[in-house]
């Protein structure tokens, strides 16, 4: 069987790859980090699976940060004239809550799944550019930490997550919060952009033989659509953030009405990015449930093609609706009418998906695992959010709703209901794959019901208080104006606050579940190879997968390849019967194992490069000299990177214990 081993030069030449001429030692103050255990094996890794897990852990951490911020907001609003937060702190809290959840939880958690699963689902050994992948992760971490240091350095951003101008310029927001916000998002933006390019190339170029685009797992499809949205949306916010930086730090007046500027410029740029962004948030969840529902309904996905095309259509139409966030800003009647109609159109592909999911379950033998419950939860809750979305696609009704709690209700049903529930469905579904152990189903059910009940208690009443006129982003409500009877604002605010704590308990149960499964004394047995009787390629390898994913790259003949290898239709009776188990299929694949496997080696440069960026960020805010210093590190790291061959030189490895060279045959895929 093939193992990852020390490379031997003759094999390199033998594989026909261009010979590596630059020995890494020649530049090596830094010896190539090649350890496979200990902290080094994580910090310098370029393995997509390890990076995926790190994305997941860090995103989870930020989920908790954002969650605490949310709880503080709900505590403040639990009673009339709350005193938990000062007005200023309240502004910082809702701004950072949204920013954290969107940019530091949902997006990177989606990246975690994408990183881990896409290569496995398409039968590849890694992504196209492993070091850039590592760089992306470190950028995300560096940017996220940078953003949050603002709490300690004079206060966080307080202009709302869309940071409207001129409200967020230095006059009205004098702390450095907004600067941290802009620069931090710039850095995480680099993470998204590089990650997106990487995944697109991976998906388009590295699919296993036989896997045409229309035989590609649906999750990978949705990830592909998202990456295209990212590639084209990130530069738009980059422009906006640069203008913001020049405005706040260098005295330009791009959004200053008194200088004759048009503040709508910011709004347009932000929402041209912002609307594609909401699909970037929700499509990963869509992809996950499109995998989960068929497996637990024991039926193929209904109308695979429709799901693919409606996903692509959403991606496309999503570019033409951004101004629906600006109906109340004086765009003029023609613009409002055009964007209103366009927005209604986008409900169509979204509806197509919901119909497909429902018909997938229709008549299936449904297996109510926790993962499945979350997936069904998504379909139901997201439908509610989509419907309220259509109500504000109608511009006249939107002018009533905008900036009230009704909007808050809408987007939480879409984002919490559409994205977060999907991610949790993914946790439970792929946990055995990623860690080789099953999460407890019993705790899982508690987790699910607490979250589902909690979310409806929290966000459901917001429809009512919004239509009653409670504005969003107000730090206080008063008993005197709360109204009477059923529509009493006070009552529903209290319900919402209670609900938010129910969600929090649900999340705590999830963490407890993880801890129970993995603590040292845990008796949880090793997960079976194919616990869910799954359908796609990632299950056709060990759990957790070996470092090189597949011993032999499988050849694909069908959508749902794994399923088709396990089951056959009897020609006479038309019955579907099982012809092989997962273990047998895996054994057959391992027997064909490739002799030549060589993975790219770990590297220092990604992390060094990524952490030079916040240095430049601090430079912009505090001292221009730091920009130069950071810039030099960037330059240096890029040179180091460019000169470093992707596969480590023999001399970088410690001499093997047995003293002799390796006699394993190796080839390179680096």
């Amino acid at each position: 069987m093939a193992i990852i081993e020390r490379p031997s030069t003759p094999a390199l030449a033998g594989s026909g790859a261009p010979a590596v001429v630059t020995p890494s030692q020649a530049y090596g103050v830094l010896k190539r980090p090649v350890s496979t255990t200990g902290w080094r094996s994580w910090v310098f890794t370029v393995d997509h699976k390890k990076l995926g897990i790190m994305y997941g852990v860090v995103a989870m951490f930020f989920f908790l940060v954002g969650g605490v911020e949310a709880l503080l907001i709900r505590l403040q609003l639990a009673g009339p004239e709350g005193t938990v937060l000062s007005a200023g702190l309240y502004n910082e809290m809702f701004t950072m809550h949204a920013t954290t959840m969107v940019f530091l939880f949902v997006m990177p958690m989606a990246a975690a799944f994408a990183n881990y699963l896409v290569p496995l689902q398409i039968g590849a050994r890694d992504v196209a550019f492993p070091r850039i992948n590592a760089f992306g992760f470190w950028c995300f971490l560096a940017g996220g930490l940078f953003l949050n240091t603002s709490w300690l350095l004079g206060g966080a951003a307080d202009g709302g997550w869309f940071m409207y101008q001129p409200n967020a310029n230095a006059l009205f927001s004098p702390s450095h919060g907004v600067d941290f916000w802009g620069l931090g998002l710039q850095i995480t933006g680099i993470a998204s952009l590089t990650g997106a390019i990487n995944l697109i190339v991976t998906i388009l170029n590295m699919r296993a033989p036989g896997m045409t685009l229309m035989k590609m797992p649906i999750f990978t499809w949705m990830i592909l659509v998202i990456q295209f949205l990212l590639v084209f949306a990130i530069p738009v916010i980059t422009v906006a953030l640069f203008l913001l930086m020049f405005q706040r730090e260098f005295g330009a007046t791009f959004f200053d009405v008194s200088a004759g500027a048009d503040p709508l410029l910011w709004q347009h740029l932000f929402w041209i990015f912002g609307h594609p962004e909401v699909y970037i948030l929700v499509l990963p969840g869509f992809g996950i449930v499109s995998e989960v529902l068929p497996v637990f309904s024991r039926k193929p996905l209904f109308g695979y093609r429709f799901v693919v095309f409606s996903g692509a259509a959403i991606g496309f139409v999503g570019w033409g609706v951004w101004a629906h966030h600006m109906f109340a800003s004086g765009l003029g009647p023609v613009s409002v009418a055009v964007f209103s109609v366009a927005t209604m159109l986008i409900a169509i592909p979204t509806g197509v998906k919901i119909v497909n999911w429902t018909l997938t379950m229709w008549g299936g033998k449904i297996w109510f695992t926790t993962s499945m419950l979350f997936a069904i939860g998504l379909v139901v809750e997201f439908t509610i959010g989509g419907l309220s979305g259509v109500t504000h696609a109608v511009a006249p009704s939107d002018t009533q709703q905008t900036d009230t709690y009704y909007i808050v209700a809408h987007f939480h049903y879409t984002i919490f209901g559409g994205a977060v529930l999907g991610l949790f469905a993914g946790f439970y579904y792929w946990w055995p794959k990623m860690f080789g152990k099953m999460l407890s189903e019993r705790l899982g059910k508690w987790n699910f019901w607490l979250m589902i009940i909690g979310m409806n208690l929290t966000f459901g009443p917001m429809h009512i208080i919004g239509l009653q006129g409670q504005p969003r982003r107000m730090m206080n409500w008063t008993e005197a104006r709360a109204g009477e009877g059923f529509f009493n604002l006070g009552f529903w605010n209290r319900v919402a606050s209670v609900g938010s704590f129910v969600i929090a308990i649900g999340v705590a149960v999830f963490l407890l579940n993880v801890w129970q499964t993995h603590k040292k004394s845990s008796k949880t047995p090793k997960a079976p190879l194919d616990p869910w009787d799954a359908r796609s390629l990632e299950w056709m390898t060990a759990s957790p997968p070996k470092e090189h994913n597949f011993d032999a790259i499988p050849t694909v003949h069908a959508l749902d390849e794994f399923f088709h290898r396990k089951y056959e239709v009897d020609h006479d009776t038309g019955e579907v019967r099982k012809v092989a188990t997962g273990e047998e299929i895996l054994a057959a694949e391992e027997a064909k194992a490739d002799k030549h496997i060589h993975l790219p080696s770990p590297s220092y440069w990604p992390i060094i490069l990524a952490f030079a960026l916040p240095l430049m960020g601090y430079g912009v805010i505090y001292n221009r000299l730091l920009i130069v210093a950071g810039g030099l590190v960037v330059l240096l790291a890029m040179f180091g990177w460019a000169l470093e061959p992707s596969v480590a030189d023999d001399s970088d490895y410690d001499p093997p214990a047995d003293g002799g060279g390796s006699n394993k045959e190796l080839a390179t895929i680096g």
Binding site: A128, F129, L204, M206, V647
Partner: protein
């Protein structure tokens, strides 16, 4: 700042067997002699000369359309001939022109909401 060295797939053809995808990176162009590129550059230079001449010569109503068309011609010439989009795998053209066309459409709509194109 990627270099080929980073490309996992590169040199991995043996592992993947027959590739489903045609979007394949190391591509070989049919080789063009240097004189060909010089000719293209001469045409580009001539167009630039024509463009700048609008500064001195009055083109009247044709002024704006002429400039825009010349600009587009130059753009496409550089993209297809110097950047070898013509003759290369179609996927590259798709990727690039998707970005370009999306940019044009979105930003035209954006300027339109500011009534940029309406006569004032």
């Amino acid at each position: 700042m990627s270099t080929t060295a980073d490309h996992v797939e590169h040199g991995d053809h043996a592992d993947h067997g027959d590739h489903v995808d045609h979007a394949h990176e190391p591509h070989v162009h049919e080789h063009k002699p240097d004189s060909y590129y010089v000719k293209v550059a001469l045409i580009l230079a001539a167009i630039t000369a024509l463009e700048t001449s609008t500064y001195w010569v009055d083109f009247g109503a044709f002024f704006l359309p002429t400039l825009l068309i010349l600009m587009a011609i130059k753009f496409v010439m550089v993209a297809s001939l110097f950047m070898h989009l013509k003759g290369d795998d179609k996927i590259f053209s798709y990727l690039f022109y998707t970005g370009l066309i999306l940019a044009i459409l979105v930003y035209m709509a954006f300027l339109a909401t500011f009534r940029f194109f309406s006569p004032t």
